[in-house]
Amino acid sequence: MTEEILQSEKEIRRFLLSEMSEDERSVFEARFVADESLFEQINVAEDELIESYVRGTLSTAEKTIFEREFLSTENRRRRVAFTRSMLDKIKKENVIVANKTELASAKNSSVWTPFANLFKTPKFALGAVFALLISVFGGWFLLRNSNQPEIVRQITPTPTAEIIASVQNQNSSVNQNNPPDSNTNAAENLSINKNDLPNANRPKVNANQNANQPEQNISQPAPVLALFAGTVRAGGKMPELNLPKTVAGATLQLNLESTDYKIYSIEIINPDGGQIFKNSKLKARNSKINFFVPAAKLQAGEYIVRLSALNSNKETESVADYSFRVSRK
């Protein structure tokens, strides 16, 4: 990371932890409202600050300031809760994936795998190698001596058929347990299993994609469409909502001519007259009603938003109609 970025990160952290003077803060705010890339850096730093808090890596002083200044709004407390859940989920997810892969590899392993696995235990491996050496040299010594019966008879008892059979069995069992390259195969199996895991450190992401390039599935802000009652009837152009396939939905903003009611309801009607979406607990703020519509509800075409409200007699009154068109990219 360059010195410039580091310097900028320090400044951003001071901003996020409310350590700037009011004048300094005002200048900084004007900068990020006008400068999209600085704004993006602040978002990154904010995420990392939250992550550090959740992971418990903030200094005591920073943690105190964070809790006092940063956690002062409901929205931020939710973001912290979300980050905590996300980190927990990812941790659990990987444990589950690792366990599943272990089970799968156990099912696929050969009859020799348990033997090969035994050699992965250091104590057993050492003992086995030692026993192997004794068997081989012992066997070789006995066999060699069996070719020189005169001398052997002088210094050792004649080897019985049992001893010879035992030595031969040991040799054959050594050969069976160690077929050519069996250790290599075990190691290869192991490395294949590791690669089968959704390797956290090796995501297959297109290396040439730049963060600033439009990328599928990269977060985009939900489009906002401001609607005004009677625009179409007044001969105006029908407002159009361009809805990319990658967004979760859109926010519709209904601009009211007056705010006479406390609670409003909206329903969105498609060209066939069918209701595709409804929300009946909306409040107006500053003569506007904002609500979110999931993208799945909006196909390309024309729609009408019907706004109604409950009057003082608890009767539903029609307030206004808003038209708009959706185009899907």
Partner: protein
């Protein structure tokens, strides 16, 4: 009293932002997001509402024929004024909070409680939203965050190297993905 937006004023604002209407719409949305964060970073609970108030004033100026060269810089200045006005309003509210009926305070507290999702709901939605990501993006998010405090920096540097991008670009990319995951999870929890 809040000013009422007019379609003409809004169209003029868009035209000031960009001659191409689609580009202008994108710039408007981007500026709106920055202003919402401006108020959130000032610890305002009603960030969207205050952002709308900023646009009301900017549109009013534009509709009156005022030439504004840099809409974003102008909006930032207006936002600072609106923030100060909101502070004064909140101070007045605190002075008179004794007069607010207890039932109303309780109702507001209940409304907050109703909006807050449970941990189980959040986990279920998170799982669902993560599953909606493409395989590449899901692996990227998991690889980025599946680390501990000691190895975090080294892991992320290695990840950036493997992807042949700078660490900064990787951080931005993951930040956007996390924002998307967070939005999706919040929307999902609202529907439950």
């Amino acid at each position: 009293m809040a000013e009422i937006l007019t379609q003409t004023g809004f169209d003029k604002l868009l035209l000031t932002l960009d001659a191409d209407r689609e580009q202008a719409g994108a710039k408007y949305e981007s500026l709106r997001v920055r202003l919402i964060k401006f108020f959130e970073w000032r610890n305002c609970e009603r960030a969207e509402e205050l952002t709308d108030a900023v646009f009301d004033r900017v549109i009013k100026k534009v509709a009156m024929g005022e030439q504004i060269e840099n809409i974003a810089a102008y909006a930032a200045t207006v936002a600072q004024f609106i923030f100060k006005e909101d502070c004064r309003r909140r101070e007045r509210l605190f002075e008179s909070i004794e007069d607010v009926p207890e039932a109303q305070i309780a109702a507001q507290a209940n409304a907050f409680a109703e909006e807050s999702e449970t941990e189980d709901e959040r986990m279920n939605c998170l799982e669902k939203c993560l599953a909606e990501f493409s395989g590449e993006n899901r692996r990227l998010v998991i690889a980025y965050y599946d680390t501990d405090e000691r190895t975090m920096i080294a892991t992320r540097k290695r990840l950036a190297d493997e992807m042949k991008i700078s660490l900064n670009i990787l951080r931005i990319r993951v930040c956007r993905l996390k924002a998307k995951l967070e939005d999706c999870t919040r929307d999902c929890c609202r529907k439950i």
